[in-house]
C-alpha cells in the first residue's frame, strides 16, 4: 500500500538514531554509573586516549567527542566516570536493534553502528499511522533493549535524518510534505546532510543561512556557486531527494570492498604498479567512506602476462579508510611477493575485516593526524563529486596519464567493478 500525493507515489521512511549509543550501552550494563557523567574512551591508560562517546550528563559539562581524556577531566573535575570501549558489545546490541527494524521492513540501511533508515512504505500509508508505528518501535527498543532512540519520520531519507535530530533523546518527529517548510526551512543550512565547512562558508558568503534560503536560492544559482553539489542541495532542501533505502547490512553485512583493473598495456615496473594501485586504493577508500566502514586488512591481487594469479593479504595494526594507507600496504605486499619474472596484466585492491568504527586507533597513531587525513580525503571525494574524477590526483599518478586515465567509479571505463562484493 502506497499513499498518493497529487498522483505521485509517496514513500514513508524512518531514520532511527540510538541516543548516545556507546555510553548508553555502558550505563545499561552498569546500573551503578547511570547517574554519573560517563565518557567512553579508547584506552584509559594511554595519555593521548580520546573521548569516543559521552552520556547526557557529560555533555552538560561541555565534554565533546574527540576531547582528550585530560581535557574531559578539566571540564568535569568532580566525578567523571571513564569506561573503556567494548566494541564487541556495541556490535552485539546494534544487531539486536537492527533485527527489530527488520521485523518492519526488508529495506533497512545501516548508517554506522547506531543509525539506520527504514522504508516502511509498504506497511503504512499515512503519517498518522507512520507516527504510531515509529512510537511502537521506540517503545519496543526501550523494553527489549533498554535504550532510547530518536526517530525521524518523513517522505525521503534526508528529511528523515533531519527529523531524528529534531528531538533528543527518546522521541519521534514527523516531517511531512505539508509541514516541511515550517519545520525544516528555519533550520541552519549546516543541519543538512552533506553541508560541511567549505560548503557552509560558500553559502554564508552568498547570504544563504537557512535550509529555506537554500530552497529559495534556486537550483541555477546553487549550481553556479557549488557545482553539482548545489543541485543536490537544492533537491535536499525542497524535499525532492529520492534515493532508495538500500538493503545494506541485512544478513550479508558487507564483507569486503574491492576494485580491480586489467591495464591498457602490461605493466613493466614498480612505478606503474604503484600508480595503478593508488588509483584502485582511492576508489576503494571512497566507497568505504560512502558506506561508513573501516577495514583492518588489505589484500592485493595480480595477474601476470602468463595469466598466473596471486593474492596476498596484510592485517593492519588499526582500522583505516584512508587511500594512502591502503595504497601503501597494497604496494608493500606487491613488492614483497613478486619478483618481476613476467609483466603484470591486471591488478586488484580489496579491503576486508570491515567494521563500523575506527577501533582504538588512537593507541597506535596520533588521532589528530588520522582525523585530518580522513577529512582531507573526504574533501577530495567532494571535489571529485563536483568536478569529476580528474580534478585531483596523487603525484605518483600524474606521471603516466595514459596508464591510469580511468575513473575507477565509472563502470563504463576500463575498471571492472565485478569484485565489488555486496
Amino acid at each position: 500500500m502506497f499513499c498518493m500525493i497529487v498522483g505521485v507515489v509517496m514513500r514513508i521512511i524512518f531514520h532511527s538514531d540510538l541516543n548516545n549509543f556507546y555510553a548508553s550501552v555502558e550505563c545499561l550494563y552498569n546500573p551503578s554509573i547511570r547517574n554519573d557523567a560517563v565518557v567512553v574512551v579508547g584506552d584509559a591508560e594511554k595519555r593521548h586516549g580520546i573521548v569516543l562517546a559521552k552520556n547526557g550528563l557529560a555533555k552538560k559539562y561541555g565534554i565533546k567527542t574527540g576531547d582528550t581524556i585530560w581535557e574531559a577531566q578539566q571540564k568535569c573535575p568532580t566525578k567523571l566516570t571513564k569506561v573503556v570501549a567494548r566494541f564487541d558489545l556495541y556490535r552485539k546490541v546494534s544487531k539486536i536493534v537492527k533485527d527489530i527494524y527488520r521485523e518492519y521492513s526488508d529495506r533497512v540501511e545501516s548508517f554506522g553502528i547506531d543509525e539506520a533508515w527504514i522504508d516502511v512504505s509498504e506497511r503504512v500509508s499515512n503519517f498518522e499511522d507512520a507516527y504510531n508505528l515509529a512510537e511502537e518501535i521506540r517503545k519496543r527498543i526501550i523494553t527489549e533493549v533498554g535504550l532510547t532512540v530518536s526517530i525521524g519520520v518523513s517522505f525521503n531519507k534526508i528529511f528523515a535524518k533531519l527529523g531524528s535530530d529534531l528531538k533528543k533523546p527518546n522521541a519521534v518527529s514527523v516531517i511531512t510534505p505539508t509541514n516541511f517548510k515550517q519545520v525544516v526551512w528555519p533550520l541552519k543550512c549546516e543541519d543538512l546532510l552533506m553541508v560541511g565547512h567549505s560548503t557552509k562558508a560558500k553559502l554564508i558568503k552568498n547570504n544563504i543561512k537557512t535550509i529555506g534560503d537554500i530552497a529559495r536560492a534556486g537550483k541555477n544559482f546553487l549550481k553556479q556557486i557549488l557545482g553539482k553539489n548545489g543541485e543536490k542541495l537544492f533537491d535536499f532542501a525542497t524535499g525532492k531527494e529520492c534515493s532508495e533505502v538500500q538493503k545494506v547490512g541485512q544478513h550479508d553485512e558487507i564483507k569486503s570492498i574491492g576494485n580491480s583493473t586489467t591495464c591498457a598495456r602490461n605493466l613493466t615496473n614498480i612505478n606503474e604498479v604503484r600508480a595503478v594501485l593508488y588509483v584502485l586504493a582511492e576508489s576503494v577508500a571512497n566507497r568505504m567512506r560512502e558506506v561508513n566502514l573501516w577495514a583492518s586488512c588489505v589484500a592485493v591481487s595480480f595477474k601476470t602476462e602468463q595469466l598466473e594469479t596471486f593474492e596476498r593479504q596484510q592485517k593492519l595494526d588499526y582500522p583505516t579508510n584512508l587511500a594512502e594507507v591502503i595504497g601503501h600496504v597494497a604496494l608493500d605486499l606487491f613488492k614483497c611477493n613478486y619478483n618481476w619474472e613476467y609483466q603484470i596484466r591486471s591488478l586488484g585492491v580489496r579491503v576486508l575485516n570491515l567494521c563500523d568504527e575506527p577501533l582504538q586507533y588512537n593507541i597506535f597513531n596520533d588521532a589528530q593526524t588520522i582525523l585530518k587525513k580522513d577529512k582531507l580525503e573526504r574533501i577530495v571525494d567532494s571535489l571529485r563529486g563536483r568536478f569529476g574524477y580528474g580534478v585531483i590526483r596523487r603525484a605518483c599518478i600524474l606521471k603516466d596519464d595514459m596508464l591510469v586515465d580511468l575513473n575507477p567509479q565509472d563502470a563504463s571505463h576500463k575498471i571492472h567493478p565485478k569484485s565489488f562484493i555486496y
Binding site: 545499561l28 550494563y29 527489549e144
Partner: protein, 83 residues
C-alpha cells in the same frame, strides 16, 4: 539495590528450538525447581543490566524473572539494605 546473579540452570531444549528452564542451581546447596513458565520475551533488565530473553516464572508461590543472555543465565537478586 539489585545484584546480577549469574546462575547455572538445567534446561530442556524442545524440538521447536524453545529453551525451557527447569531448575535454577542458585548455590551449591540450593536448587529451585521452576513450577511454571508464564512467558518468555525479549527484554532488557534495567535493574542489573543485560539484554536477552526474560522468562516470567513461578517457583512455589513466588513469581520472578529469569534471564538468558547469549548462553548466560542470570536473576535479579535483591540485596539487603544495611541502613
Amino acid at each position: 539495590m539489585f545484584n546480577k546473579k549469574i546462575v547455572s540452570v538445567t534446561a530442556k531444549f524442545l524440538t521447536t528450538g524453545y529453551i525451557m528452564p527447569l531448575i535454577i542451581h542458585y548455590s551449591d546447596d540450593k536448587d529451585y525447581f521452576i513450577d511454571k513458565v508464564y512467558s518468555c520475551k525479549n527484554c532488557a533488565s534495567l535493574k542489573v543490566g543485560g539484554i536477552g530473553k526474560r522468562y516470567d516464572i513461578r517457583i512455589g508461590n513466588k513469581r520472578t524473572f529469569l534471564y538468558l543472555e547469549d548462553s548466560i543465565w542470570f536473576v535479579e537478586e535483591k540485596m539487603e539494605s544495611n541502613n
